[in-house]
């Protein structure tokens, strides 16, 4: 373990001074790029993501390659990392598996969220630029994409909001551990088993659930419950951003 969490059980305060159920500062703006059909900029703590949406527009491949799927709009997601986004400055390969998995997740979840049947033969291209990484990267990408799509005026059934939760750190005296932690930063992600959950709307409808680390089965329930509640809170914040933006036109 690279970090010491032994103090957590004493004060129940995390490394950055948050409580278990506290989100990081979530700041978002929409309509940030003039050239795109829709765009957003989102910060979850120190994770910063810029998202632009173009489309729906006529796809590059044209009619022939569309096949039977062309009764619906096709969704393309590209993710690019800025060289300075991580701790080390390094050039990432154009397509590593982790990035393609992330874009696959976004494509799949958005395909179910958007009313794509309204735009046959078209393509919706979403480009995410990751400016700074500090945990909850996939969650930030999902939230940013939702905002940019709303800005682009593409119909969707509801907000798709995401956040992360981690299994509580177990200490010597309390083997059972405490409450699951919400909205992890980069250090916590390194250390604790965590999951990313995204829900549609205010209910318990889970669209994305990704967990990459080993954890006891019994703990998943608690993590999921906290995650779903966290998504609700994220939805409120995003909704406020959109309403605030809408006020300008009133």
């Amino acid at each position: 373990m690279p970090l010491d969490t032994s103090t957590y059980s004493l004060a129940l305060l995390r490394l950055d001074g948050r409580r278990w159920n506290e989100l990081r500062r979530l700041h978002a703006q929409i309509s940030t790029q003039a050239a795109a059909d829709g765009s957003s900029y989102l910060e979850m703590g120190n994770t910063k993501v810029l998202c632009t949406v173009s489309g729906p527009h006529e796809g590059k491949a044209g009619g022939a390659g569309g096949g039977p799927r062309s009764t619906q709009a096709k969704i393309e997601v590209e993710i690019s990392f800025a060289g300075f986004s991580g701790v080390e400055r390094k050039k990432r390969q154009a397509k590593d598996k982790r990035t393609s998995e992330m874009s696959h997740t976004l494509t799949q979840s958005l395909a179910a969220l958007l009313l794509t049947h309204l735009y046959p033969h078209s393509t919706i291209t979403i480009h995410l630029s990751i400016l700074s990484q500090d945990g909850s990267l996939l969650a930030a990408c999902i939230n940013a994409a939702t905002l940019a799509l709303i800005d682009a005026g593409i119909p969707m059934t509801d907000y798709l909001c995401a956040c992360t939760t981690a299994a509580p750190p177990t200490s010597a005296e309390t083997e059972a551990g405490g409450d699951p932690l919400l909205d992890l930063n980069g250090q916590e992600e390194q250390e604790l088993p965590f999951l990313t959950v995204a829900t549609v709307g205010k209910g318990h409808a889970v669209s994305v659930l990704i967990m990459e680390s080993r954890v006891r089965m019994e703990k998943v329930e608690g993590m999921l419950a906290v995650g779903v509640e966290g998504c609700k809170r994220v939805r409120e914040i995003l909704d406020k951003v959109v309403k605030e933006h809408g006020k300008r036109f009133a």
Binding site: A36, D37, K243
Partner: protein, 344 residues
């Protein structure tokens, strides 16, 4: 398991501190069905927001009804429109959605055997069939195989044109036509795209953009000569040197006119445009962009008035010798609007 999620604690951004979202949600719930339509036009609906659960309403664009329910839910962020019993949500901004009869400015993207594909800023490329253009050669005639072979002599990739939406297809694509002497290839001027602000819907929310109006193409009298302005409903604008079209010489017969125009109809050569006219063309283009940045609707009256004030202001500046306004289209237009509104 009752779980409460704390909001992020340091509220650094002031806009995050007010709790009006939760308030308005409660209002929505309390208001019930009688005045749910948020008679205050200031608030907008957001995706997933319940508009009504009263089954007497019908759903229109921008809404959906989940299976096994009668609740109408918004799918867009925008304003609610009521047309009799029809509820629809107009997005704050979206791509242009073509409607029959719209005057649009477009750019040829590719040339096919019997038609052109035209980018009009919509979800799909619009098609312009060879049969929907005016063929040169004087009289109205049928198109021939020779025309098909020479398709690139009329329009080729990258050409700009002004056309009208003739027909909408089942899948939302549009067909255009240029069967009028007002329409056709554009040259001798400047193209401006008001990105993201296209569509008549944009106007209703006051977010600026071109309005569907009686006259989309008009001539403006400037100090350096006449210039033509084409305001495409799709947010594409073309400002050019005035050319003589059918509208100007009503007494001439239609067939004769076609003859006179046909040589220049599909020309790709620009005429000589005097330098001071170019200046005016650029000025008008900038003013229109500024109007959109100031969230104003763009129509003939607005453009003409802005232009007049702009010229006036320039004259004053020349006399006084100092620059009153800041840089950029937006600040210039802001000053002009101030002046118009104060009635000077």
């Amino acid at each position: 398991m009752p779980i409460s999620i704390l909001p992020p604690s340091p509220q650094e951004v002031p806009s995050h501190t007010d709790r009006y979202v939760s308030d308005s949600d409660e209002e929505m719930a309390d208001a019930g069905d009688n005045d749910f339509t948020s008679s205050n036009s200031h608030s907008i609906v957001t995706p997933g927001e319940t508009i009504t659960s009263d089954p007497q309403w019908m759903r229109g664009h921008g809404t959906y009804i989940p299976p096994n329910s009668t609740t109408i839910i918004s799918t867009l962020a925008g304003t609610l429109q009521k047309t009799n019993k029809l509820l629809s949500v107009t997005p704050l901004r979206a791509r242009y959605a073509p409607e029959i009869g719209d005057l649009v400015v477009g750019r040829i993207v590719n040339v096919q055997a019997k038609k052109w594909m035209v980018d009009i800023g919509a979800a799909q490329l619009a098609s312009l069939p060879l049969s929907a253009i005016n063929l040169p050669g004087g009289i109205l005639r049928r198109r021939t195989a020779v025309d098909e072979l020479n398709i690139r002599t009329f329009f080729s990739e990258g050409d700009l044109l002004v056309a009208e939406v003739q027909m909408l297809h089942q899948d939302g694509g549009a067909s255009l036509h240029t069967r009028s002497l007002k329409y056709g290839k554009l040259r001798n001027g400047l193209f401006t795209s008001l990105a993201g602000a296209g569509g008549g819907g944009a106007k209703r929310n006051g977010s600026g953009g071109v309005v569907r109006s009686r006259r989309q193409a008009f001539t403006l009298q400037t100090t350096a000569g006449e210039i033509d302005i084409v305001l495409g409903v799709n947010g594409y604008i073309f400002v050019s040197k005035h050319t003589i079209t059918a509208g100007d010489e009503k007494d001439a017969s239609i067939t004769r006119l076609e003859e006179s125009v046909s040589e220049t109809l599909y020309s790709s050569e620009n005429d000589v445009v005097p330098k001071d006219l170019m200046r005016e063309i650029v000025r008008v283009g900038t003013l229109i962009r500024g109007l959109v940045l100031c969230s104003r609707s763009v129509d003939e009256e607005m453009v003409v008035r802005c232009y007049e004030v702009a010229v006036e202001m320039e004259a004053e500046e020349n006399v006084m010798g100092d620059v009153l306004v800041g840089q950029g289209a937006k600040s210039i237009v802001e000053n002009i609007l101030l002046r118009i509104e104060s009635g000077v």
